[in-house]
Protein backbone atom coordinates (compact mmCIF):
# COMPACT_ATOMS: atom_id res chain seq x y z
CA UNK A 1 0.00 0.00 0.00
CA UNK A 2 2.78 2.39 1.00
CA UNK A 3 6.15 1.58 -0.34
CA UNK A 4 9.30 3.63 0.11
CA UNK A 5 12.46 2.82 -1.79
CA UNK A 6 15.96 4.26 -1.56
CA UNK A 7 14.90 7.42 0.22
CA UNK A 8 17.74 9.84 0.86
CA UNK A 9 17.54 13.15 2.68
CA UNK A 10 20.20 15.63 3.65
CA UNK A 11 20.16 19.05 5.31
CA UNK A 12 22.85 21.40 4.01
CA UNK A 13 25.02 18.49 2.92
CA UNK A 14 24.53 16.48 6.12
CA UNK A 15 23.04 13.10 5.39
CA UNK A 16 20.05 12.58 7.66
CA UNK A 17 18.34 9.61 6.00
CA UNK A 18 20.21 7.07 3.94
CA UNK A 19 18.67 4.55 1.58
CA UNK A 20 15.53 4.01 3.57
CA UNK A 21 13.22 1.22 2.40
CA UNK A 22 9.89 0.79 4.10
CA UNK A 23 6.83 -1.24 3.33
CA UNK A 24 3.50 -0.69 5.00
CA UNK A 25 0.50 -2.84 4.18
CA UNK A 26 -3.08 -1.64 4.25
CA UNK A 27 -4.41 -1.47 7.80
CA UNK A 28 -1.02 -2.06 9.34
CA UNK A 29 0.43 -0.16 12.28
CA UNK A 30 4.13 0.40 11.78
CA UNK A 31 6.08 1.97 14.63
CA UNK A 32 9.41 3.72 14.23
CA UNK A 33 11.68 3.71 17.25
CA UNK A 34 15.27 4.74 17.74
CA UNK A 35 17.60 7.19 19.44
CA UNK A 36 17.06 10.93 19.33
CA UNK A 37 18.30 12.63 16.19
CA UNK A 38 18.15 9.45 14.15
CA UNK A 39 15.74 10.81 11.57
CA UNK A 40 12.36 9.39 12.61
CA UNK A 41 10.59 12.75 12.40
CA UNK A 42 12.40 13.54 9.18
CA UNK A 43 11.20 10.28 7.65
CA UNK A 44 7.56 11.04 8.47
CA UNK A 45 7.96 14.55 7.12
CA UNK A 46 9.35 13.16 3.86
CA UNK A 47 6.28 11.00 3.41
CA UNK A 48 4.04 14.04 3.22
CA UNK A 49 6.73 16.23 1.75
CA UNK A 50 7.17 18.72 4.53
CA UNK A 51 10.77 17.85 3.73
CA UNK A 52 11.78 17.14 0.18
CA UNK A 53 14.03 14.10 -0.10
CA UNK A 54 17.06 14.31 -2.38
CA UNK A 55 16.08 11.07 -4.06
CA UNK A 56 13.93 8.00 -3.70
CA UNK A 57 10.57 6.61 -4.68
CA UNK A 58 7.25 6.26 -2.99
CA UNK A 59 4.15 4.40 -4.03
CA UNK A 60 0.97 5.21 -2.23
CA UNK A 61 -2.61 4.32 -3.04
CA UNK A 62 -1.67 2.86 -6.40
CA UNK A 63 0.44 5.78 -7.65
CA UNK A 64 4.21 6.07 -7.92
CA UNK A 65 6.20 9.20 -7.27
CA UNK A 66 9.86 9.94 -7.88
CA UNK A 67 11.06 12.30 -5.14
CA UNK A 68 13.89 13.69 -7.24
CA UNK A 69 11.50 15.01 -9.88
CA UNK A 70 8.26 15.51 -7.97
CA UNK A 71 6.29 18.59 -9.07
CA UNK A 72 3.77 20.86 -7.36
CA UNK A 73 0.74 18.91 -8.45
CA UNK A 74 2.17 15.58 -7.35
CA UNK A 75 3.21 17.14 -4.05
CA UNK A 76 -0.35 18.25 -3.32
CA UNK A 77 -1.62 14.89 -4.46
CA UNK A 78 0.65 12.97 -2.13
CA UNK A 79 -0.13 15.29 0.77
CA UNK A 80 -3.83 14.79 0.23
CA UNK A 81 -3.43 11.04 0.67
CA UNK A 82 -1.59 11.42 3.95
CA UNK A 83 -2.35 13.18 7.19
CA UNK A 84 0.02 14.15 9.94
CA UNK A 85 -0.52 14.30 13.68
CA UNK A 86 2.15 16.57 15.09
CA UNK A 87 3.95 16.44 18.41
CA UNK A 88 2.77 20.01 19.13
CA UNK A 89 -0.77 19.34 17.76
CA UNK A 90 -0.65 22.38 15.47
CA UNK A 91 -4.37 22.98 15.49
CA UNK A 92 -5.40 26.07 13.56
CA UNK A 93 -5.53 28.67 16.30
CA UNK A 94 -8.13 30.83 14.61
CA UNK A 95 -10.62 27.99 14.39
CA UNK A 96 -12.76 26.09 16.86
CA UNK A 97 -12.37 22.34 17.32
CA UNK A 98 -15.04 21.51 14.80
CA UNK A 99 -13.83 24.15 12.33
CA UNK A 100 -10.39 22.60 12.58
CA UNK A 101 -11.83 19.26 11.56
CA UNK A 102 -14.10 20.73 8.87
CA UNK A 103 -11.71 23.10 7.15
CA UNK A 104 -9.62 20.76 5.00
CA UNK A 105 -12.73 18.87 3.95
CA UNK A 106 -14.22 22.09 2.61
CA UNK A 107 -11.10 23.83 1.35
CA UNK A 108 -9.19 20.88 -0.05
CA UNK A 109 -11.85 18.27 -0.69
CA UNK A 110 -14.55 20.78 -1.67
CA UNK A 111 -17.20 19.08 0.43
CA UNK A 112 -20.32 21.02 1.35
CA UNK A 113 -20.46 22.62 4.77
CA UNK A 114 -23.18 20.23 5.87
CA UNK A 115 -21.29 17.16 4.75
CA UNK A 116 -18.10 18.39 6.41
CA UNK A 117 -19.97 19.18 9.60
CA UNK A 118 -21.52 15.74 9.85
CA UNK A 119 -18.24 13.97 9.16
CA UNK A 120 -16.49 16.18 11.71
CA UNK A 121 -19.06 15.50 14.41
CA UNK A 122 -18.64 11.81 13.79
CA UNK A 123 -14.85 11.98 14.13
CA UNK A 124 -14.97 14.24 17.18
CA UNK A 125 -17.33 11.76 18.82
CA UNK A 126 -14.91 9.00 17.98
CA UNK A 127 -12.19 10.76 20.01
CA UNK A 128 -14.69 11.61 22.75
CA UNK A 129 -14.86 15.38 22.24
CA UNK A 130 -18.44 16.00 21.17
CA UNK A 131 -18.81 18.33 24.16
CA UNK A 132 -15.92 20.55 23.05
CA UNK A 133 -16.75 21.20 19.42
CA UNK A 134 -17.00 24.97 19.83
CA UNK A 135 -13.89 25.45 21.96
CA UNK A 136 -10.82 27.16 20.56
CA UNK A 137 -7.51 25.26 20.80
CA UNK A 138 -6.37 27.70 23.46
CA UNK A 139 -9.28 26.60 25.67
CA UNK A 140 -8.43 22.89 25.43
CA UNK A 141 -5.94 20.77 27.34
CA UNK A 142 -3.01 19.31 25.43
CA UNK A 143 -4.66 15.91 25.38
CA UNK A 144 -7.89 17.34 24.03
CA UNK A 145 -6.03 19.32 21.38
CA UNK A 146 -4.20 16.21 20.27
CA UNK A 147 -7.48 14.30 20.01
CA UNK A 148 -8.95 17.09 17.87
CA UNK A 149 -5.90 16.84 15.67
CA UNK A 150 -6.47 13.08 15.37
CA UNK A 151 -10.09 13.78 14.37
CA UNK A 152 -8.83 16.32 11.83
CA UNK A 153 -6.55 13.70 10.31
CA UNK A 154 -9.27 11.05 10.23
CA UNK A 155 -11.80 13.39 8.66
CA UNK A 156 -9.91 13.69 5.37
CA UNK A 157 -9.92 9.88 5.04
CA UNK A 158 -6.24 9.58 4.17
CA UNK A 159 -4.55 6.40 3.00
CA UNK A 160 -2.21 6.66 5.96
CA UNK A 161 -1.93 8.72 9.13
CA UNK A 162 1.52 9.72 10.31
CA UNK A 163 1.90 10.24 14.06
CA UNK A 164 5.04 12.00 15.28
CA UNK A 165 5.46 11.41 19.00
CA UNK A 166 1.82 12.31 19.58
CA UNK A 167 2.08 12.09 23.36
CA UNK A 168 5.52 13.42 24.16
CA UNK A 169 4.41 17.03 24.65
CA UNK A 170 1.68 15.99 27.08
CA UNK A 171 1.52 15.94 30.85
CA UNK A 172 1.74 12.31 31.98
CA UNK A 173 -1.87 12.18 33.13
CA UNK A 174 -3.09 13.14 29.64
CA UNK A 175 -1.10 10.53 27.74
CA UNK A 176 -3.62 7.74 28.32
CA UNK A 177 -6.58 9.44 26.64
CA UNK A 178 -4.57 10.11 23.49
CA UNK A 179 -3.15 6.60 23.34
CA UNK A 180 -6.69 5.29 23.68
CA UNK A 181 -7.78 7.36 20.67
CA UNK A 182 -4.84 6.11 18.62
CA UNK A 183 -5.70 2.55 19.53
CA UNK A 184 -9.25 3.20 18.43
CA UNK A 185 -7.99 4.53 15.09
CA UNK A 186 -5.78 1.49 14.65
CA UNK A 187 -8.68 -0.87 15.38
CA UNK A 188 -10.82 0.86 12.78
CA UNK A 189 -8.42 -0.44 10.14
CA UNK A 190 -6.58 2.81 9.39
CA UNK A 191 -3.02 2.44 8.16
CA UNK A 192 -0.65 4.09 10.62
CA UNK A 193 2.99 5.01 10.84
CA UNK A 194 3.81 6.01 14.39
CA UNK A 195 6.93 7.45 15.97
CA UNK A 196 6.89 7.01 19.71
CA UNK A 197 8.95 6.56 22.83
CA UNK A 198 6.05 4.73 24.53
CA UNK A 199 7.65 1.32 24.21
CA UNK A 200 4.97 -0.78 25.83
CA UNK A 201 2.30 0.91 23.74
CA UNK A 202 4.38 0.29 20.62
CA UNK A 203 4.70 -3.35 21.54
CA UNK A 204 0.95 -3.74 22.02
CA UNK A 205 -0.33 -1.84 19.04
CA UNK A 206 2.19 -2.46 16.27
CA UNK A 207 2.11 -5.01 13.50
CA UNK A 208 5.67 -4.08 12.65
CA UNK A 209 8.40 -2.21 14.50
CA UNK A 210 11.23 -0.47 12.70
CA UNK A 211 14.35 0.35 14.66
CA UNK A 212 16.20 3.27 13.14
CA UNK A 213 19.72 4.29 13.93
CA UNK A 214 21.89 7.04 12.44
CA UNK A 215 19.58 7.70 9.53
CA UNK A 216 19.19 4.07 8.53
CA UNK A 217 16.79 1.24 9.15
CA UNK A 218 18.84 -0.95 11.47
CA UNK A 219 16.28 -3.68 12.01
CA UNK A 220 12.61 -4.31 11.50
CA UNK A 221 10.18 -7.04 12.41
CA UNK A 222 7.20 -8.07 14.49
CA UNK A 223 7.12 -6.31 17.89
CA UNK A 224 8.15 -9.34 19.91
CA UNK A 225 11.04 -9.93 17.49
CA UNK A 226 12.38 -6.44 18.11
CA UNK A 227 11.56 -6.06 21.77
CA UNK A 228 12.27 -9.59 22.99
CA UNK A 229 14.33 -11.57 20.51
CA UNK A 230 16.55 -9.04 18.78
CA UNK A 231 20.19 -10.01 18.43
CA UNK A 232 21.08 -6.71 16.84
CA UNK A 233 23.60 -5.02 19.11
CA UNK A 234 22.37 -1.50 18.39
CA UNK A 235 18.73 -2.43 19.06
CA UNK A 236 19.67 -4.07 22.35
CA UNK A 237 21.79 -1.14 23.40
CA UNK A 238 18.95 1.28 22.65
CA UNK A 239 16.32 -0.77 24.46
CA UNK A 240 18.55 -1.39 27.48
CA UNK A 241 19.30 2.28 27.78
CA UNK A 242 15.62 3.02 27.42
CA UNK A 243 14.51 0.55 30.08
CA UNK A 244 17.26 1.67 32.44
CA UNK A 245 16.08 5.28 32.10
CA UNK A 246 12.47 4.25 32.66
CA UNK A 247 13.20 2.57 35.99
Amino acid sequence: MLNLRNLNLSFHGNKVLEDIDLEVKKGEVVTLIGPSGTGKTSLLRCINLLEKPDSGFISLGGLDYDFSSIDKKETLNLRRKTAMVFQQYNLFKNKTAIENVMDAQMVVQKKSKKEAYEKSMEELKRVGLEAKVDAYPNQLSGGQQQRVSIARALAVEPEVILFDEPTSALDPELVGEVLKSIEEVAKSGMTIILVTHEMSFAQDISDKVVFMDKGQVAESGRPEQIFKESDNARTQQFLNKFYAAAQ
Binding site: L50, L76, R79, F86, K93, V108, Y136, N138
Partner: protein, 240 residues
Protein backbone atom coordinates in the same frame (compact mmCIF):
# COMPACT_ATOMS: atom_id res chain seq x y z
CA UNK B 1 -8.53 86.18 20.73
CA UNK B 2 -11.27 86.42 18.15
CA UNK B 3 -13.56 83.42 18.51
CA UNK B 4 -16.02 84.83 16.04
CA UNK B 5 -13.31 84.99 13.43
CA UNK B 6 -12.35 81.40 14.11
CA UNK B 7 -15.92 80.28 13.57
CA UNK B 8 -16.19 82.34 10.44
CA UNK B 9 -13.22 80.68 8.76
CA UNK B 10 -14.23 77.19 9.82
CA UNK B 11 -16.51 76.47 6.82
CA UNK B 12 -13.67 77.27 4.46
CA UNK B 13 -11.54 74.70 6.19
CA UNK B 14 -14.29 72.12 6.20
CA UNK B 15 -14.43 72.49 2.43
CA UNK B 16 -10.81 71.39 2.04
CA UNK B 17 -11.02 68.47 4.45
CA UNK B 18 -11.93 66.17 1.52
CA UNK B 19 -8.58 67.02 -0.05
CA UNK B 20 -6.74 65.92 3.06
CA UNK B 21 -8.98 62.86 3.20
CA UNK B 22 -8.27 62.04 -0.43
CA UNK B 23 -4.52 62.23 0.19
CA UNK B 24 -4.85 60.04 3.28
CA UNK B 25 -7.17 57.41 1.83
CA UNK B 26 -5.40 57.02 -1.50
CA UNK B 27 -1.99 56.88 0.17
CA UNK B 28 -3.22 54.39 2.76
CA UNK B 29 -4.90 52.05 0.27
CA UNK B 30 -2.15 52.03 -2.35
CA UNK B 31 0.56 52.14 0.30
CA UNK B 32 -0.94 48.98 1.76
CA UNK B 33 -1.10 47.31 -1.65
CA UNK B 34 2.55 48.20 -2.17
CA UNK B 35 3.53 46.97 1.28
CA UNK B 36 2.33 43.42 0.63
CA UNK B 37 4.85 42.52 -2.09
CA UNK B 38 7.56 44.45 -0.19
CA UNK B 39 6.91 42.38 2.93
CA UNK B 40 6.79 39.24 0.77
CA UNK B 41 10.18 39.98 -0.76
CA UNK B 42 11.76 40.56 2.65
CA UNK B 43 10.14 37.51 4.25
CA UNK B 44 11.26 35.21 1.45
CA UNK B 45 14.60 37.00 1.12
CA UNK B 46 14.32 37.10 -2.66
CA UNK B 47 17.83 37.68 -4.00
CA UNK B 48 18.59 41.18 -5.36
CA UNK B 49 15.02 42.42 -4.76
CA UNK B 50 15.63 41.88 -1.06
CA UNK B 51 18.58 44.23 -1.21
CA UNK B 52 16.55 46.86 -3.04
CA UNK B 53 13.71 46.72 -0.52
CA UNK B 54 16.19 46.99 2.35
CA UNK B 55 17.57 50.18 0.81
CA UNK B 56 14.07 51.46 0.13
CA UNK B 57 13.00 50.95 3.72
CA UNK B 58 16.13 52.46 5.15
CA UNK B 59 15.67 55.48 2.83
CA UNK B 60 12.09 56.20 3.86
CA UNK B 61 12.94 55.61 7.48
CA UNK B 62 15.92 57.96 7.64
CA UNK B 63 14.88 60.95 5.55
CA UNK B 64 12.43 63.48 6.98
CA UNK B 65 9.08 63.24 5.25
CA UNK B 66 9.16 66.94 4.34
CA UNK B 67 12.40 66.41 2.46
CA UNK B 68 10.94 63.34 0.77
CA UNK B 69 8.02 65.47 -0.43
CA UNK B 70 10.35 67.98 -2.04
CA UNK B 71 12.44 65.22 -3.58
CA UNK B 72 9.37 63.74 -5.21
CA UNK B 73 7.90 67.05 -6.28
CA UNK B 74 11.06 68.16 -8.04
CA UNK B 75 12.48 64.71 -8.73
CA UNK B 76 9.61 62.95 -10.52
CA UNK B 77 9.61 65.30 -13.55
CA UNK B 78 13.38 64.93 -13.86
CA UNK B 79 13.05 61.16 -13.68
CA UNK B 80 10.23 61.13 -16.24
CA UNK B 81 12.32 63.27 -18.59
CA UNK B 82 15.22 60.86 -18.23
CA UNK B 83 12.81 58.11 -19.24
CA UNK B 84 11.90 60.07 -22.33
CA UNK B 85 8.57 61.59 -21.27
CA UNK B 86 7.92 65.22 -22.06
CA UNK B 87 7.01 66.40 -18.61
CA UNK B 88 8.35 69.55 -17.05
CA UNK B 89 6.30 69.58 -13.89
CA UNK B 90 3.64 67.54 -12.12
CA UNK B 91 0.88 68.69 -9.86
CA UNK B 92 1.73 69.05 -6.20
CA UNK B 93 -1.14 66.73 -5.41
CA UNK B 94 0.28 63.94 -7.56
CA UNK B 95 3.74 64.33 -6.08
CA UNK B 96 2.32 64.32 -2.56
CA UNK B 97 0.28 61.19 -3.12
CA UNK B 98 3.08 59.30 -4.86
CA UNK B 99 5.44 60.24 -2.05
CA UNK B 100 3.07 59.15 0.69
CA UNK B 101 2.23 55.89 -1.10
CA UNK B 102 5.91 55.07 -1.29
CA UNK B 103 6.44 56.06 2.33
CA UNK B 104 3.51 53.96 3.52
CA UNK B 105 4.50 51.02 1.36
CA UNK B 106 7.68 50.84 3.42
CA UNK B 107 6.08 51.63 6.77
CA UNK B 108 3.23 49.17 6.42
CA UNK B 109 5.49 46.42 5.12
CA UNK B 110 7.25 46.66 8.48
CA UNK B 111 3.90 46.07 10.19
CA UNK B 112 2.92 43.14 7.97
CA UNK B 113 6.29 41.39 8.07
CA UNK B 114 6.49 40.91 11.85
CA UNK B 115 2.81 39.89 11.88
CA UNK B 116 3.58 37.18 9.35
CA UNK B 117 6.66 36.07 11.24
CA UNK B 118 4.64 35.85 14.47
CA UNK B 119 2.64 32.96 13.06
CA UNK B 120 4.11 29.68 14.20
CA UNK B 121 5.69 27.39 11.65
CA UNK B 122 3.36 24.62 12.82
CA UNK B 123 0.35 26.52 11.43
CA UNK B 124 1.92 26.48 7.99
CA UNK B 125 2.91 22.86 8.27
CA UNK B 126 -0.51 21.70 9.45
CA UNK B 127 -2.13 23.28 6.40
CA UNK B 128 0.57 22.02 4.04
CA UNK B 129 0.36 18.50 5.39
CA UNK B 130 -3.35 18.44 4.60
CA UNK B 131 -2.70 19.46 1.01
CA UNK B 132 -3.71 23.14 1.08
CA UNK B 133 -2.31 25.10 -1.83
CA UNK B 134 -0.17 28.08 -0.93
CA UNK B 135 -3.06 30.41 -1.66
CA UNK B 136 -5.53 28.37 0.41
CA UNK B 137 -3.11 28.27 3.30
CA UNK B 138 -2.60 32.03 3.24
CA UNK B 139 -6.24 32.99 2.89
CA UNK B 140 -7.80 30.45 5.23
CA UNK B 141 -5.19 30.07 7.95
CA UNK B 142 -2.34 32.56 7.91
CA UNK B 143 -3.93 35.91 7.03
CA UNK B 144 -6.84 35.49 9.49
CA UNK B 145 -4.26 35.00 12.22
CA UNK B 146 -2.08 37.89 11.05
CA UNK B 147 -4.94 40.37 10.87
CA UNK B 148 -5.47 41.02 14.59
CA UNK B 149 -1.71 41.27 15.07
CA UNK B 150 -1.23 43.74 12.22
CA UNK B 151 -4.34 45.91 12.68
CA UNK B 152 -3.10 48.22 15.45
CA UNK B 153 0.16 48.82 13.58
CA UNK B 154 -1.75 49.64 10.42
CA UNK B 155 -4.00 51.94 12.45
CA UNK B 156 -0.96 53.77 13.75
CA UNK B 157 0.33 54.07 10.21
CA UNK B 158 -2.88 55.85 9.29
CA UNK B 159 -2.65 58.25 12.26
CA UNK B 160 0.91 59.07 11.23
CA UNK B 161 -0.30 59.48 7.69
CA UNK B 162 -2.93 62.01 8.77
CA UNK B 163 -0.24 63.99 10.53
CA UNK B 164 2.22 63.69 7.65
CA UNK B 165 -0.41 64.80 5.19
CA UNK B 166 -0.37 68.19 6.89
CA UNK B 167 3.05 68.73 5.33
CA UNK B 168 1.91 68.51 1.74
CA UNK B 169 1.04 72.22 1.76
CA UNK B 170 4.78 72.78 1.65
CA UNK B 171 4.85 71.75 -1.98
CA UNK B 172 1.68 73.70 -2.71
CA UNK B 173 -1.26 71.38 -2.14
CA UNK B 174 -4.18 73.41 -0.86
CA UNK B 175 -5.23 71.08 1.91
CA UNK B 176 -6.17 72.21 5.42
CA UNK B 177 -2.68 73.40 6.19
CA UNK B 178 -2.25 74.90 2.75
CA UNK B 179 -5.40 76.92 3.19
CA UNK B 180 -4.22 78.07 6.60
CA UNK B 181 -1.05 79.54 5.14
CA UNK B 182 -3.05 81.24 2.43
CA UNK B 183 -5.56 82.74 4.87
CA UNK B 184 -2.93 83.87 7.34
CA UNK B 185 -0.83 85.57 4.68
CA UNK B 186 -4.02 87.09 3.23
CA UNK B 187 -4.78 88.72 6.55
CA UNK B 188 -1.37 90.40 6.60
CA UNK B 189 -0.11 88.40 9.54
CA UNK B 190 -3.06 89.36 11.70
CA UNK B 191 -4.99 86.72 13.58
CA UNK B 192 -2.41 84.05 12.84
CA UNK B 193 -3.01 82.43 16.19
CA UNK B 194 -6.70 82.08 15.42
CA UNK B 195 -6.05 80.52 12.02
CA UNK B 196 -3.60 77.93 13.26
CA UNK B 197 -5.59 77.24 16.39
CA UNK B 198 -8.57 76.43 14.18
CA UNK B 199 -6.36 74.10 12.14
CA UNK B 200 -5.12 72.48 15.35
CA UNK B 201 -8.69 71.82 16.45
CA UNK B 202 -9.52 70.27 13.10
CA UNK B 203 -6.54 67.90 13.27
CA UNK B 204 -7.41 67.12 16.83
CA UNK B 205 -10.90 66.19 15.70
CA UNK B 206 -9.72 64.01 12.83
CA UNK B 207 -7.12 62.26 14.97
CA UNK B 208 -9.58 61.77 17.79
CA UNK B 209 -12.05 60.13 15.42
CA UNK B 210 -9.43 57.86 13.92
CA UNK B 211 -8.08 56.98 17.35
CA UNK B 212 -11.56 55.88 18.38
CA UNK B 213 -11.67 53.55 15.41
CA UNK B 214 -8.25 52.20 16.30
CA UNK B 215 -9.23 51.72 19.96
CA UNK B 216 -12.17 49.72 18.80
CA UNK B 217 -9.90 47.58 16.62
CA UNK B 218 -7.53 47.14 19.57
CA UNK B 219 -10.33 45.80 21.73
CA UNK B 220 -11.30 43.36 19.03
CA UNK B 221 -7.67 42.40 18.59
CA UNK B 222 -7.34 41.64 22.30
CA UNK B 223 -10.31 39.32 22.11
CA UNK B 224 -9.00 37.48 19.06
CA UNK B 225 -5.45 37.35 20.39
CA UNK B 226 -6.71 35.92 23.67
CA UNK B 227 -8.36 33.22 21.71
CA UNK B 228 -5.40 32.38 19.50
CA UNK B 229 -2.86 32.86 22.27
CA UNK B 230 -0.54 35.12 20.25
CA UNK B 231 1.40 37.94 21.84
CA UNK B 232 1.55 41.32 20.19
CA UNK B 233 4.95 41.70 18.62
CA UNK B 234 6.72 45.04 18.72
CA UNK B 235 5.71 47.74 16.29
CA UNK B 236 7.54 49.02 13.28
CA UNK B 237 10.53 51.13 14.21
CA UNK B 238 9.36 54.38 12.72
CA UNK B 239 9.53 57.59 14.63
CA UNK B 240 7.42 60.25 13.08
Amino acid sequence: MDLQYMISILPEFLRVIPITMLVVVVSAVFGFLLSVPVAGIRIRKVPVLNLITDLYISFTRSIPILLQLFLFFFGIPVLLQLLGFDVTNISAMTAAIVCLIIYNGAYMSEVIRPAYLAIEKGQHEAAESLGYTRFQKLTKIIIPQMTPIALPGLGNAIIHLIHDSSLVFAIGVVDIMGLATIISSGSFGMQQVEVFLTVAFIYWGISFASEQIIRYLERRKKRVLNRTGYEMKEEAEYNV
